[in-house]
């Protein structure tokens, strides 16, 4: 059984936000409009964070794409009274929308701020609905939604591979953010396969986990941005 994870090379990432829109397009994430966005209700399963250092003119900025870290020791899971937030066998922090009753305990427990509550039923001004991805279910009002590592793509690749009686190849599965990234900053794959690109990158001396000290054991490794030697 694979254990899915990701490596994010902050030395390649340049903050272009292609991944942010790719995620919306793939996962049927509805836009909420300016008024609701001002109330903090916009949903971005993946966001670009900025870390400013220094004062003018010696300013330095580092971008960091932040999405669900798919923690091995996820604080969102034990707090869910309905097991909507749970751990799958292949290591995803999954959210079963039909089980979710909207307590939002998981969002309170998550240190990464990557869970989003649906305050409304999703709506698309027709015919924008024609773009919807039929492989991803729509979330109704009152449930939490979050990054799934594009589980629909993981499953499709698994089905395809088993139909062809073979294993899923490394690099065969690309979540939407990984696929869109122009500078190839994001790498997805099986952490339990020591030969996979993501495992190799995760062992890099530049690697670290986000908020490692809180003990969540994230499956996303950030490779530090380097400085001029």
């Amino acid at each position: 059984m694979p254990r899915w994870g990701m490596a994010v090379d902050l030395d390649r990432c340049n903050g272009c936000a292609a991944c942010v829109v790719a995620c919306h397009a793939e996962n049927n994430i509805s836009t909420v409009g300016a008024d609701e966005a001002a109330r903090g209700r916009a949903k971005h399963w993946l966001r670009i964070e900025r870390y400013w250092e220094g004062e003018f003119p010696d300013v330095r900025l580092t971008f960091r794409p932040v999405l669900c870290q798919h923690c091995d020791n996820a604080p969102c899971e034990p707090v869910c009274p309905t097991y909507a937030s749970h751990h799958t066998e292949d290591g995803l922090n999954a959210q079963v929308y039909n089980r979710c009753i909207g307590t939002r305990y998981c969002a309170n427990a998550c240190p990464y701020n990557v869970r989003f509550f649906d305050f409304f039923n999703p709506s698309w001004d027709k015919p924008l609905h024609l773009q919807l991805n039929p492989d991803v279910s729509l979330r109704e009002a009152g449930v939490m939604e979050k990054c799934t590592f594009c589980v629909q793509r993981i499953q499709a690749a698994g089905t395809q591979a088993s139909a062809e009686e073979r294993e899923v190849q490394d690099g065969e599965i690309q979540p939407a953010c990984v696929q869109s990234c122009p500078s190839k900053a994001l790498v997805f794959g099986d952490l339990d396969d020591p030969g996979s690109r993501v495992s190799q990158l995760s062992r890099s001396p530049r690697g670290s986990k986000l908020l490692e000290d809180v003990g969540t054991r994230p499956k996303i490794t950030y490779l530090a941005r380097q400085s001029q030697a």
Partner: protein
């Protein structure tokens, strides 16, 4: 109740509930027979071409079944169509290598936009009122042909104007043919953030009137002058791919990146070293580096023609000694010397300029200075340097002759307003100059002089709302699409793709419409094709085939792209007939507005989301947090913290920005990445009319930009306006940020 009867009961009530909803005729489910063969639930992938900028990235479009609302014979119902679902970058495309930027991802919303124009329209109210009525294609085209015939009868063919985007694709070539065969003046091309100055400089320095391609993947030292090459400039996906490889694609080698600019762009934010130079003095810094390199004998002195046209080059650029450079640019002399030594010591190295440094009255000099610097370090036509990509000559490929000419929109407007001659019929394709040109050019007033304005737009924007006739184009997914990029790859590239899906509405491909009009005229234009795809077929058939299995046209359609070596007769000739006879030296940039009265430089910059504003109608891009500020759905003005403190402006406060041209109000974003004497504002918002998502939102910075131009090209010097800034009041609802107190703040403060 036992289990069995419970299930029976729910089955009955469920059915009756479903039946009850059929009582309302509006909810009647009419399903029409699909017009195409579709296997439900099975995705098909088709090639496409991204239409949003000049880069010409290749797409792979996921197509699946979907239920579309349609009206057939007056009966509303549903029909299953094969619909585009998701745009991905084409993995083997020589420009984008599988990547696709945020804007490209959102392009699908153009096709499915709820405010698309679905059929030909004729103006029914006052011009600009936005009141239109339906008209049939036949009546519309017949009416238009009669007007053109009348002009021809009167011998007044020059009263036709065609406003379009710059570019060298087949659509432009068809437009050129249309206007020249009719006898009209050359098309008017306008793009606010265009590269005319760059091309002109490259023509003077290197004999190539073309934007350069960078081999970032092999560069070890990149010196950028203002070019937002990872965000909005030139071919950002190609450059993003190169950037990733430059940083981490080579074992043990990490390319260094230094960026010179007065406001930190998304690209500059990635620099190892960020150097703030005074606006309009970037060329001085470039020559200052060259001076140090020559004075210290770090490189051979020769920079060929690129050096020879810089005044004082043969004397070692004595006017650009580090202390003088410091006085001019504000960059310390010691830093100039250090950067010069680093730049000279690392091979391969490349310099690049674009964007704000060229948007000054002395922009041509700045571009020439950076070109000379490139020639000095030997980066021209070298791996890890800059080069000029061979470009397909679409005129030659189509079996035609002639070289396309273009007028500037400033000249068009001035001529129209002075009545020599007043335009009679004005065509508008793919441009919105009423929104993107400075008010002093009076484009709107010029269009008011025209008797008849025809737009091919899919949306009512500030320019197409003035039209008397709207002949809506298909979306790029519904028609043949093509692009002939001038930069971004090592070999010649021509992207082309058949329609991905059937048209949703009663629209027509503009290329086909132009050919149709040409046939309807009393003196037909005798264009050699019936449809636009015939033109593409004839042109691509002239290309050498990339594979042995198929001819070039078949192969290109299947892959979505043709690329390879070009026979000389099909390569665009970009050289100059004769080199420049003069030399260029630094002239202080000319600014609009007195420095006492207007103490700040005003920098309107291309928005990561909307470029020049042409994408503000896409909700995904409106709700995409800006990478540097996390702002969504908003306009804002960026101010240095020290300046803000002095003016007692707090983050989010409402401020007024005033130039000699007018004043705007926007929320302040206080950021360290901007010089204290510069304020910056993204383009894109401030549309008066541009669909439900963009209309009436934010402000348009171009409204306070003065009409200063770069004299050699006539390009707008959009960074040459000075402004004053004052606080109006506390924060209100106009600035929306994703990070606003909830999401990122806690993380950032750790």
């Amino acid at each position: 109740m036992d289990r069995r009867s419970f299930i029976k009961l729910t089955a009955v009530t469920g059915t009756s509930a479903a039946l009850a909803s059929c009582g309302n005729p509006e909810n009647q489910l009419i399903r029409f027979v699909p017009a195409e063969d579709i296997v439900p639930g099975i995705a098909v992938w088709k090639p496409g071409v991204c239409p949003l900028c000049q880069a010409g990235c290749g797409l792979t479009v996921r197509v699946m079944d979907a239920d579309a609302d349609v009206v057939r014979n007056g009966q509303a119902g549903l029909v299953r169509i094969a619909a585009a679902k998701k745009l991905e970058g084409a993995s083997d495309h020589p420009v984008n290598h599988g990547g696709l930027c945020a804007r490209g991802q959102a392009a699908i919303q153009i096709t499915y936009h709820p405010d698309r124009i679905t059929q030909p329209l004729k103006r029914s109210g006052d011009r600009g009122s936005g009141r239109f009525e339906a008209i049939s294609w036949d009546d519309a085209l017949g009416d238009l042909a009669r007007r053109l015939d009348a002009l021809e009868t009167a011998g007044n063919q020059r009263a036709v104007a065609f406003l379009t985007r710059p570019g060298a694709g087949f659509r432009q070539t068809l437009i050129d043919q249309f206007v020249s065969r009719f006898g009209a003046p050359a098309p008017v091309a306008y793009e606010l953030f265009g590269d005319d100055v760059q091309r002109q400089a490259n023509a003077l320095s290197f004999g190539r009137h073309q934007v350069q391609t960078l081999d970032l993947a092999n560069t070890r030292y990149l010196l950028g002058f203002g070019a937002d090459f990872l965000g909005t400039w030139n071919s950002p996906v190609a450059q993003g791919a190169g950037y990733g490889a430059m940083r981490q694609g080579r074992l043990g080698v990490r390319g260094v990146f230094v960026q010179v600019e007065a406001r930190m762009s998304q690209t500059g934010a990635n620099a190892d070293e960020w150097v703030a130079a005074r606006p309009g003095t970037e060329g001085v810094l470039a020559l200052g580096l060259a001076h140090v390199m020559m004075a210290e004998k770090l490189v051979p002195d020769s920079a060929g023609r690129a050096g020879a046209i810089v005044a004082g080059w043969s004397d070692g650029l004595v006017d650009y000694a580090p202390d003088r450079v410091e006085r001019s640019t504000g960059v310390p002399a010691a830093r100039v010397e250090r950067l010069a030594r680093e730049f000279a010591a690392t091979r391969p190295a490349a310099a690049i300029v674009g964007g704000p440094p060229l948007a000054h009255s002395n922009g041509l000099f700045t571009a020439l200075a950076v070109n000379a610097l490139n020639a000095l370090v030997g980066s021209v036509d070298q791996p890890g340097g800059m080069s000029f990509m061979p470009q397909l000559d679409t005129v030659a490929a189509a079996g035609l002759t002639g070289s396309p000419a273009r007028q500037t929109i400033e000249r068009f407007a001035a001529d129209a307003l002075s009545g020599r001659p007043a335009p009679d019929v004005v065509f508008i394709d793919g441009v919105n100059p009423v929104f993107t040109a400075p008010p002093a050019w009076r484009v709107r007033e010029a269009l008011d002089q025209a008797a008849f304005v025809v737009s091919f737009g899919s949306f009512l924007d500030e320019t197409s709302v003035l039209a008397d006739l709207v002949l809506p184009d298909h979306s790029f997914l519904e028609s043949w699409s093509e692009a002939v990029p001038e930069a971004g790859a090592g070999v010649a590239v021509a992207s082309v793709a058949p329609p991905v899906m059937r048209p949703l509405y009663d629209t027509r491909a503009t290329g086909d419409v132009l050919l149709d009009i040409g046939r309807r005229l009393r003196r037909p234009l005798e264009l050699p094709w019936q449809t636009f795809d015939e033109m593409l077929a004839a042109s691509f058939s002239a290309l050498p085939s990339a594979t042995a299995d198929a001819d070039a046209w078949t192969d290109a359609q299947a892959k979505g792209v043709w690329s390879g070596p070009l026979p000389p007769r099909l390569a665009r000739q970009t050289g100059l007939a004769s080199p420049a006879r003069r030399t260029f030296s630094f002239e202080a940039p000319r600014f609009d507005g007195d420095a006492q009265q207007y103490p700040f430089h005003f920098l309107p910059y291309p928005s990561t989301a909307f470029l020049d504003g042409s994408l503000a109608h896409l909700p995904w891009l409106q709700e995409m947090p800006d990478p540097l500020t996390s702002a969504m759905w908003s306009s804002w003005i960026e101010i240095n913290p020290a300046t803000a403190a002095r003016l007692r402006i707090g983050d989010g406060d409402v401020v007024e920005v005033a130039s000699s041209q007018g004043a705007l109000q926007a929320a302040a974003v206080i950021t360290p990445g901007i010089a204290p004497d510069v304020v910056a504002m993204p383009m894109g918002q401030g549309h008066r009319t541009f669909t439900r998502y963009a209309s009436g939102r934010g402000v348009n910075p171009i409204e306070i930009v003065a009409a200063v131009t770069e004299p050699a090209t006539g390009a707008l010097a959009w960074a040459a306006t000075r402004v004053r800034v004052s606080r109006l009041g506390p924060p209100d609802s106009r600035l929306v940020r994703f990070a606003g107190g909830m999401r990122e703040e806690t993380e950032e403060r750790r």
